[in-house]
Symmetry: C2
Subunit: 489 residues, 2 copies
């Protein structure tokens, strides 16, 4: 056996165990009995210890030193494993265990603090998390920037300076679009209620339209929608609100974007490093493209309006055009996950700047709430009234995810590039979407993006698929055309 | 840290990982997408390899040699760990891996062969499984009897000679009872259909009656009912048949017997060796006692009849007495899992004799079908017409479970002893059951059996609870009184 073959045999078991860990997470959010939580924490900690030991196993170093990449696939696997091994070895086992222990506890404290609107209850553990992640970032950065080290974990190759420059170009044009939409007549509002079982039936239909394979997945309800798993078992969740069917339907389309990316990776790569999405940013480009550029298009909105009329009867919207305006409403709001295409990236920029300041020691945890609220008022023009609308709204920081938020915005930018290329490649896309057919779009994405998995680094993946170096240009052009027309009407 | 403390810290992680393995099994049988099966096999194999490495970790030997039992709990944990470590070390890693590989494949082949009624398709892999288990039994027995070595794995301390003697005492009296019941008028038959959702509603109610805690568990449907997990997450499954509500209800009560045993173990023992049922036989004693001695009693049948009338209206049974006869029908049949209290142990004796002959080399796999069919005709008086009624009906041998079947019969015997003691301790038990209250019975079992987990060896567990050395006497007395009356009526 060659060193590469030995390495891959070992790694295949690691990947299988990582899938098991993902399955435990799915179980916890969907079907786990409430009283099982303390035991589940022990189960996940035990499995995490196994995974950590495998990811820092000294044999990996030997195999990596001896392995020869005989083709593109081997080169991709070695690139990812080399990077992972180096990163994991830089973090002392004591620190890794401490981060796992504290963030597990912090998530529960955050959830209670958010429910109680009590920032003070969250600050002590957040201070611990920030300190631990700063230490980790410094260990990985090895003299470089600790925030970039964490960002690189979610988006290999990304640099905060590049992102900051991109955001600086995005911001004024998004602000202008936002002002135009706020000055325009308000979007129509749907009249509920919408039976939750019927919403789920339609969600299943829509998932199938967007290429989700139920033979290798399932759709359940969870408090927060997510996609989980790779290869032959990729599950998604959504949620229902009787007054707002878009909550269920667009969350489903979003998660189908993530899930089909995983389902469509070349089966030869299953349970190998290249056998999953290239990065968080590329993953988000798929979910956002499905949800927004396709799912909120005029053509697809027309089809969806017909299906909803079939299933729910009259819900107070008189035409396809009015329905299209309803699914693209731009309204004032505090919550990132409920934001429209125009405002979403502004929510990200706020978090990006604050978390950089936290990681670089320029902002104390004690001052975070004031900093958030000041910035929100300046950016959005109205105040945060309670912490659950502000710094307690997202789970990310409680679980130590710093450097993750910008990948959402990067996903939007990548989606803009891919969407432009897709439109050029599939000229009759709107005619298909108007008939409830997303097949040609899914086929193009499968061929250009999905099947390659993580074979290439993230930017290269998008560049190869879109036929250009990715930047914010196509996203801005798309948004200005779409929302310019909506604001003008 | 003492050697014992180090051992237990290590073991706690192993127990947590074993719970994860159990959860994967639950997932596979209830919610897993059909196309995920090949990947799931890899996930379970990877986790099994982790567990095997931990169970044979040389540090265990050092800790066990140095550990001192300072109390009864430590003595129990060390007894179980010493035994497990010795057994696992006697089986070469190559053989353990081969057994895992072949039995995983054999189960699929068995399922297909059963569906196709094709014994020939199953025999080659069964031969492999038999050969591997014989080799394993010989390795563990170390010159002793290989079948006893396997039996001891499921029922520590049990010996096939003792079981054979016990069966010899049981057999003639069960055969006589069976003859009396076959000569009596047939039991009444329910008139369906019974809405499956309503069956599940009643199953949930019945589970609660028998003390199942839904905050630490859940009830789902599966092809084969089972209970899975220990500690804070013990899940059960059942199945529904629109024509036969007893299939759902009594499977639920049976699994609740297993599940409450696990749920009621002293929480201080969670994720330790003593923190689960004492053996397969003791486990089965709980499920059978719940299902039969309590669930099929005249008193509980009266209550259940009332609830079924409330939920299903008239289903062709005119009285509590007739309903009691219906739940205790003794009918000719080929299938062990559908057998009544009188005939069940006869099905076990057949398997016990055949699997001993297989393991000792006295019966060739090629001759198994003829041996089964001859024996069935002799024991039951009618022929096996197709293999799914005969040697292909049970999954056990395909997954290498030899020495497992007799634990079912031992469970019945243990249940007989515990039931007699329970009746003496709770004189108004029938009055409670007639009101749909099993609380006093569950409380007695919790105190006498459940909370101790595996603190003592199986026979000692039953002897301490029942106040006598267990034998078949109480079971026979119970069956002869109950079915004597039913046959006489």
């Amino acid at each position: 056996m060659t060193a590469y073959a030995e390495l891959m045999a070992f790694q295949r078991e690691t990947e299988a165990l990582a899938q098991v860990m993902g399955r435990l997470g799915w179980d916890q959010e969907t079907v786990m009995p409430p009283g099982a939580a303390p035991q589940r924490a022990e189960e996940m900690a035990a499995l995490e210890a196994v995974l950590h030991a495998r990811r820092t196993d000294p044999r990996l170093g030997d195999w990596l030193a001896a392995a020869v990449a005989e083709d593109e696939v081997a080169a991709g696997n070695l690139r990812i494993l080399q990077r992972s091994y180096e990163r994991h070895c830089k973090v002392p086992a004591r620190l890794a265990a401490e981060i796992a222990r504290v963030t597990s506890r912090a998530q529960g404290i955050w959830a209670e603090a958010r429910a109680a609107e009590d920032v003070g209850a969250f600050l002590p553990v957040l201070s611990e998390v920030v300190a631990l992640r700063r230490e980790e970032g410094a260990a990985i950065a090895d003299g470089g920037d600790p925030y970039d080290a964490l960002l690189d974990d979610h988006e290999p190759g990304a640099r905060s300076a590049d992102l900051a420059a991109m955001f600086a170009r995005l911001r004024p044009r998004l602000v202008a679009l936002r002002a135009a939409m706020r000055a325009a007549p308000p979007a129509p509002v749907l009249r509920g209620p919408f039976a939750e079982e019927t919403q789920m039936t339609l969600a299943r239909e829509v998932a199938t339209v967007f290429g989700y394979d139920f033979a290798r997945g399932r759709l359940d309800k969870a408090v927060h929608p997510f996609s989980s798993g790779s290869g032959l078992d990729v599950r998604i969740t959504t949620r229902t609100n009787p007054e707002d069917p878009f909550n269920c339907l667009y969350a489903t389309i979003h998660e189908v974007g993530h899930a089909t990316y995983e389902q469509n990776v070349d089966p030869a790569h299953r349970l190998t490093p290249v056998g999953q999405g290239a990065s968080m940013g590329v993953h988000e480009s798929q979910s956002r493209l499905y949800e927004n550029q396709l799912g909120r298009s005029r053509a697809f909105a027309g089809w969806l309006y017909g299906r909803m009329r079939d299933l729910f009867g009259d819900f107070g919207i008189a035409s396809e055009e009015a329905f299209y305006r309803a699914v693209n409403a731009v309204r004032d709001g505090h919550i990132r996950t409920e934001a429209d295409e125009v405002q979403y990236n502004l929510h990200i920029m706020l978090r990006f700047d604050l978390e950089q300041a936290l990681m670089r020691g320029d902002l104390a945890v004690a001052d975070l709430e004031a900093a958030w609220n000041d910035r929100f008022l300046a950016d959005f023009g109205f105040a945060v009234e309670r912490p659950s609308q502000g710094m307690l709204q997202d789970v990310h920081w409680s679980v130590g995810l710093f450097g993750y938020f910008p990948t959402y915005a990067l996903g939007n930018v990548y989606a803009g590039c891919l969407h432009a290329a897709l439109r050029a490649a599939v000229p009759d896309l709107d005619a298909c979407l108007a008939r409830g057919e997303a097949g040609p779009a899914v086929a193009w994405l499968r061929e250009r993006v999905h099947r390659h998995g993580a074979l290439r680094p993230p930017r290269e993946t998008v560049a190869a698929a879109a036929g250009r170096e990715p930047d914010e240009g196509p996203l801005l052009a798309y948004l200005e055309e779409k929302f310019g027309a909506l604001a003008g009407g």
